[in-house]
Symmetry: C2
Subunit: 162 residues, 2 copies
């Protein structure tokens, strides 16, 4: 099963290497990772998407908590959360397909962040399924390049408050 785990870490030198080393050293897979700052510049936040059975996930949690740079580990699978990622997709549609490309942009509430006579660069945000859906629609029009951030997640208040 796929798990999205957030790890708050001290913003210290080599901490990414220690965390990723923990995963690779024990044979745990990292599907995607995002590392960014928090409001406190002493603390960074990592969002790691990994997969494994309950026992493996429990081990990952335990081992992460043992690292001295790790402040807090949250497995989002346990509660309601919002999960999002962003992709930049550069397409080079033939002239007869440019209108179709723009329609797809509209449908997905994506935005064009760069355009040239031969290309559009499209920015889209959403969960993994939405990103995959727009990629699948744009593919026949000619995708030149794609970059995706890792996932980030935040707990949902709307449902838990009810």
């Amino acid at each position: 099963m796929r798990h999205t785990i957030q790890v708050l870490v001290e913003n210290k030198f080599g901490v990414l290497s220690r965390v990723s080393g923990l995963f690779s050293g024990r044979g745990y897979n990292i599907e995607s990772i995002s590392v960014g700052p928090t409001l406190d510049n002493q603390i960074s936040q990592m969002t790691i998407v990994t997969s494994g059975d309950d026992q493996i996930i429990e081990q990952i949690n335990k081992q992460l908590n043992k690292l001295i740079d790790v402040i807090k580990v949250t497995d989002f699978t346990e509660f309601e959360h919002v999960e999002r990622e962003m992709a930049l997709i550069k397409v080079s549609p033939k002239s007869e397909h440019r209108a179709e490309a723009l329609r797809i942009v509209d449908i997905f509430r994506a935005v064009i962040v760069d355009s040239s006579p031969k290309t559009y660069t499209i920015q889209v945000t959403g969960d993994g399924k939405k990103i995959q859906a727009i990629v699948d629609l744009l593919k026949p029009l000619g995708i030149k390049e794609i970059v995706r951030t890792g996932k980030v997640a935040i707990s949902r208040e709307g449902k838990t408050a009810g």
Copy 2:
């Protein structure tokens, strides 16, 4: 100077650990990192933001190219590119500040991805400066939590085509 470096790597076990180990082992700083899939599921793409003088950046490029899992290293500093990141910001404004929070959301073309009687979760995309600007404006209203993806970048065609 800050550099945004994209690394295409074979999607092999432990590759993140090898890349981050290269940085930490040599004392190079990683400011942010995003790792995501590409169209080819054998290949992953990392966007690393690092800083250092020309000599250090040259060393980083050389060392990365020596790793067998590394397919291609691109330093975006050398040419026109679009740089973007995404943040999810959970605010808990007092009732008299909720309208102001929504105005800020509008101004930054952000979107609300979750709301509860006491909180809004705001999704915003842009370059680092834009994210910092909205964070600075929302801070006095009460930020409860923030998660940011690392930066991603893609080469700009608009200007180079001219």
